[in-house]
Amino acid sequence: MQERDSGSHPQFERRQVEEVVTELRIKGELDIGSADALRQALDSAEAEGAIVRLDASDVLFLDSTALGVLLASAQRLSARGGRLELMNASPAVRRILDMTLIARTVHLIP
């Protein structure tokens, strides 16, 4: 019943966390033709820190091969306590992200 109690007397704690985020801006189309390049770019970004944020403003296309590369990176990062974020996805890119529910692994920033 301890949980109930703390539920009815909520407590709040606030603290500030400093995070280092490595932003990676990608331009182009992500498919099997560019998967190796994507993998390498993510590898380098991962080497800089455990939080990587992709800026997808200029990603014109993204398929399941590229998704697989993102997923692998997201899993490596989250195993280190970090995460992969993706921001500024276009409607076309969001389509496959939503369809596959990858948002459970890659953190989408609207």
């Binding site: 099997i32 033709g33 296309f61 398929d63 697989g68 997923l71 389509r95 496959i96």
Partner: protein, 137 residues
């Protein structure tokens, strides 16, 4: 040209580098038609997945062909867009060791009105994808 049925035919070497090329060709073909942007991008995604499968799976363990190729036909009729992707590879076969996530076919099936997979004689595979067009008068 009657404007009734428009066709695109394309044959390219089956390589990863050619996937964007095929996609761009299909995009160009679609540009001439009155497709919504959302539908057009679904089509490009499905086409990419089907062609990627040819590159990754069809000609594995060197199926005897000197020049592995992807063959694509797109046909635009009044009520549907039909795109066929064919290879002359070893035939459709499951792989427990696939390098992929297994998302290609499901993505195709989710994006299309209908997808058919069948042998392409003598030994390859044909994937026929149908997209329903928005009601056009």
């Amino acid at each position: 040209m009657t404007g009734e049925q428009v066709q695109l035919e394309l044959t390219v070497p089956s390589t990863a580098e050619n996937i964007p090329l095929v996609r761009h060709a299909v995009a160009g073909f679609l540009d001439g038609q009155a497709l919504s942007e959302a539908l057009a991008s679904d089509v490009l995604l499905a086409v990419t997945e089907a062609c990627t499968n040819v590159v990754q799976h069809a000609y594995r363990d060197g199926s005897g062909r000197d020049e592995p190729e992807i063959e694509l036909t797109a046909e635009y009729a009044s009520s549907a867009l039909t795109i066929s992707v064919r290879d002359r590879g070893r035939g459709f076969a499951p792989r427990v060791d696939s390098p992929g996530l297994g998302l290609g076919l499901p993505v195709i099936a989710a994006l299309t009105q209908n997808v058919e997979i069948r042998p392409f004689p003598p030994s390859g595979t044909e994937v026929v994808m149908t997209f329903a067009l928005e009601v056009a008068t």
